[in-house]
């Protein structure tokens, strides 16, 4: 059983390293879209998840709620992994 916290840490690290500018303060609760997260960032994030967890998040799961912040996204990923 994979822990949400572990996924959260990985996502946070990826987004800080690859997506957001260093001066942007990103936490697990940062509103991603308000901080500038866009469609291309999303595709890059989906590819990162595919590489690390071996699956592509189905489109039906990519909702406004799931993308609210890193915590919500990590929780969606954890649920999908544990359901597999």
């Amino acid at each position: 059983m994979i822990e949400t916290q572990e996924i959260e840490t990985k996502l946070l690290d990826f987004l800080k390293r690859e997506v957001f500018a260093p001066e942007v303060l990103v936490t697990s609760e940062t509103d991603l879209v308000a901080a500038g997260f866009d469609s291309m960032s999303l595709v890059r994030l989906l590819l990162f998840i595919e590489t690390d967890y071996g699956f592509w998040i189905p489109e039906s799961e990519i909702t406004g709620d799931a993308l609210r912040n890193i915590r919500a996204l990590a929780s969606t990923i954890a649920r999908l992994i544990n359901e597999r």
Partner: protein, 423 residues
């Protein structure tokens, strides 16, 4: 200029398009933003602010030059720098302003035309050379010009977009993009070309405006077909379906259509470096059978975008554009045009998303409306920009008169509007 900052690969591509447009008698690769103000502003205040910014950022009065690598050079004694002019509104003025080229070689990279309108209102027509900065930068720069409370850019000079890897590795990466173009050649795209040789070498534009209710419908359609944050994919798919329908109407169906999708390279939450084009193109190809419906076009956009990122085409495109900077402009443009032994681009497409929320006032005057006007090259001679101002959607459609008639461009714009609302 001290240190002579380099043009990056994307700046150089924009300079190449400028060269190509001027060579064919057009005004060049310059874009415009029009701010409709509720009241007039002081011309002197604008001039003083620009003079201050020019002193701070010498790149604003430079010209593209350099022998082996394109650089920003001081324009010397003949320098013009940013210009400010004042006009009374008249029927043909907007077209005249659009048709006037910037004096790029004399360091005129920016121009402000202040148009006095009835009732004390004023429009600010801001024209800039695309080789200096991209559309998002231009929005932010306008905010910096018009508001004293916006922090000034810290790193205004450009740098190559990609560096650090050994040359051999860079060539290997670049080869991926060339290989992709080779694959596209199996059904090489063909543009309409100069169908109307007697028409003037002039670009025209029209703006499609959407109400709050229409904008909400379009956003909902995008979310339904492309998921959350999928608006840009939806807009590009709709554009390509309507492009194919336009080609059908004029009896010029292409074996395929290529759409270079601009991808922003700035880290999210930052506008640095401001005076630079921070983007690359992700190439997508559509066969006519992919463009029978919006749904089938959306599927192509999504799959090719993911595949492009998965196989490293984004990085490859960046590296390729950086390598191209070593070529002289005429050779570069000849290679771009021959890239597909057909056409490397079937439609100029931009999606600048929401206009920066910093642009609500300009020198204290309320901004009542905002318009982007892009530039397109021969060929394809047709372009679109999608953007949102104060939450309302706008689409600017621009065309070259010797490629498409006004009626054909209007038909394309009407089709776009209808399909965005009813996919």
């Amino acid at each position: 200029m001290r240190g002579d900052p380099q043009l990056n690969g994307s700046d150089y591509l924009m300079l190449g398009f400028d060269y190509e447009l001027r060579r064919r008698g057009f005004a060049g690769n310059s874009c415009q933003i029009v701010l409709e103000l509720g009241s007039a502003i002081s011309t002197e205040a604008l001039k003083a602010r620009l003079a201050d910014l020019v002193n701070r950022y010498p790149i604003l009065r430079a010209r593209p030059g350099g022998v082996f690598l394109p650089k920003w050079k001081s324009a010397g004694h003949s320098v013009i720098g940013p210009q400010v002019r004042v006009h009374r509104d008249q029927p043909d003025l907007r077209q005249q302003l659009a048709d006037e080229p910037l004096a790029l070689k004399r360091g005129e990279l920016l121009r402000f035309d202040l148009v006095q309108r009835d009732g004390g209102r004023m429009d600010v027509v801001f024209k800039w050379a695309h080789t200096l900065m991209d559309a998002n930068s231009a929005e932010h720069f306008l905010a910096v010009v018009g508001r004293a409370d916006i922090p000034l850019p810290a790193t205004p000079t450009t740098q190559p977009l990609h560096a650090g890897k050994p040359l051999k590795q860079r060539f290997q990466l670049a080869w991926k993009s060339i290989h992709q173009l080779d694959q596209f050649c199996q059904a090489a795209p063909r543009s309409v070309g100069v169908r109307r040789p007697s028409a003037p070498a002039r670009q025209k534009f029209r703006v499609e405006r959407f109400s709050a209710e229409e904008t909400a419908r379009i956003r909902a359609n995008g979310a339904r077909l492309c998921g959350a944050l999928g608006a840009a994919q939806y807009h590009s798919a709709v554009s390509m379906v309507e492009l194919h329908r336009l080609h059908e109407r004029i009896g010029c169906v292409s074996p395929s259509y290529v759409l270079p999708v601009p991808v922003g390279l700035r880290r999210k939450g930052s506008m640095e470096p401001l005076f630079s084009n921070q983007m690359t193109m992700l190439m997508t190809q559509f066969l006519p059978e992919n463009l029978g419906s919006t749904v089938s076009a959306v599927a192509i956009v999504k799959s090719q975008m993911a595949a492009g990122l998965r196989t490293g085409l984004l990085e490859s495109g960046v590296v390729l554009s950086e390598l191209f900077r070593f070529l002289p402009l005429p050779l570069y443009m000849a290679m771009v045009k021959q890239g597909l032994r057909g056409e490397i681009c079937s439609l100029f497409y931009g999606d600048t998303a929401a206009v920066t929320p910093l642009l609500t006032t300009f020198f204290g005057a309320t901004i009542e409306d905002f318009t982007h006007i892009g530039a397109t090259t021969p060929s394809p001679g047709l372009g679109v920009i999608f953007y949102f101002y104060r939450g309302l959607m706008r689409v600017t459609v621009f065309h070259l008169e010797n490629h498409f008639s006004d009626a054909e461009a209007a038909g394309f714009a009407a089709g776009l509007r209808a399909r965005l609302l009813e996919p």
